[in-house]
Amino acid sequence: MPVYCNQPYINMQAVCFGYNRRRPPVVQDLDLQCSLDEWVAVMGPNGSGKSTMVKLVMGVLRPWSGQIEIGGEPSSSLSLGQIGKRIGYVFQEPERQLFTGSVWEELEFVWTLQGEVGEAQHEKVRRSLEDFDLVHVRDSFPHTLSRGEKQRLALAAVMINEPPFLVLDEPTTGLDRIRRQQLSHKLHRLRGQGIGAMIVTHDRKFAEEHTTRMIAMDRGKVVRGE
């Protein structure tokens, strides 16, 4: 069942993908549009194709057939780096996207690579540390942080690039009630800043709190859009 809304930023049309050509596709005839003014929750049982769909959106996997557009451009013409600038992606295991020796360096990482570190960037890092409650761990080694802190750091590191759209993969996994509330608070603030988002989650309550639309997937297809 196709789900439509105005001015799609992510536009998937008749997307088909599988991990093995001799087996049935994991995602089949998937139509999904998401615009910048909405927060979409993607729900569904294990093996329904949610994570595969996210990897297709992020360009990590290439579809067998069908079209994926990001901001009006075919994703097949974009490199992973270009997609990363258009969509901020927070992994289910945030430690997989932390690369440096300290929280401060992590937030500066992309600018350091581009040779663009200056006072303006330092100021942005300082603001980001405050926004994501990471001031007290600014010199800590990211891999020694708690799960909630790692997740906030991954989110901060992604948001510092100011992408117009955010994809969160199972953001509440492994978080206790307090950490979950802290995450809710951050997401609520991000939503107020006018960016769009797609949240893959099993947590219906969390999805209801944070999203404007919920879709359900089963066997690689969108079976319900609310």
Binding site: M58, V60, S79, L80, G81, Q82, I83, G84, K85, Y89, F91, E95, R96, Q97, L98, F99, T100, G101, F109, V110, T112, L113, Q114, G115, H143, A157, V158, N161, P163
Partner: protein, 241 residues
């Protein structure tokens, strides 16, 4: 069902690899490669490795040039501006290196289809302590995981908005050094999980382990080892004449 004793396979792999290290003549290397192919066919190894070996050919020419430029001696076969680019010594060494890698990978492929339990049992019956045998097995199983971790880290860094192909080489190298951190963290995490799981299953709870499985050499195992020794010793002998 493949019923070769895993110790026979280990022995032949060791023998082939050692011969590949000892040899230094391209014609003999070609014979050795032929023997390695025969061994893969006899022991029903992973023939698919042949297809993957084509990637090694891509480094053949650069290796020959490097060896020719940085190793003195030999007859120049191709010179540019008076500088020898390809020499007979470079051809010999570069080609030899590629042959060696090909033979070792091809030979190891016969162990890939062997169930790990049988390999461990083979090592134990060769009087290697169980812990060491198990560690060897784990290390082999970890290799594909490491490759996966590396690929994931490479993807993750790009999804942070880093356009690697646009970065100058110096900065790209800087990125590569940072990839090791999440890989190391992932591997240490997995190792910790495995260690906990093993403790939970009472690994090393008793000083001596017993096993239901007992491997026995058959007549054809002895025959295969004998033929391998004769052929490869002959080949190595020809190389030293």
């Amino acid at each position: 069902m493949n019923r070769w004793d895993p110790r026979t396979k280990l022995f032949v792999v060791l023998l082939l690899s050692s011969t590949a290290v000892v040899l230094d003549d391209l014609r003999l290397f070609a014979v050795l490669l032929g023997l390695a192919l025969l061994v893969v066919a006899v022991f029903q190894g992973d023939v698919g490795v042949l297809y993957r070996l084509r990637k090694i050919l891509a480094v053949l020419f650069p290796l020959i040039v490097i060896q020719s430029v940085f190793t003195g001696g030999g007859e120049p076969l191709l010179s540019v501006g008076g500088m020898p680019l390809i020499t007979t010594v470079g051809l010999q060494r570069g080609g030899g290196l590629v042959f060696r890698i090909a033979v070792i990978i091809l030979a190891s492929s016969i162990l890939m289809k062997e169930p790990s339990r049988r390999i461990i049992q083979g090592l134990i019956q060769c009087r290697i302590p169980y812990e060491i045998a198990f560690m060897v097995h784990l290390a082999i199983r970890f290799l594909p995981l490491l490759q996966e971790e590396l690929q994931d880290a490479f993807t993750a860094v790009q999804l942070r908005g880093v356009e690697l192909d646009r970065l100058p080489l110096r900065r790209r190298l800087y990125v590569y050094t940072h990839l090791f951190l999440p890989i190391l963290a992932g591997v240490v995490g997995k190792a910790r999980e495995i260690s906990t799981a093993m403790e939970m299953k009472a690994f090393r709870a008793v000083p001596k382990r017993t096993s239901h499985m007992q491997l026995c050499f058959g007549r054809r195992d002895y025959l295969a080892m004998g033929v391998s020794v004769l052929l490869l010793a002959g080949l190595a002998g020809m190389g030293t004449i």
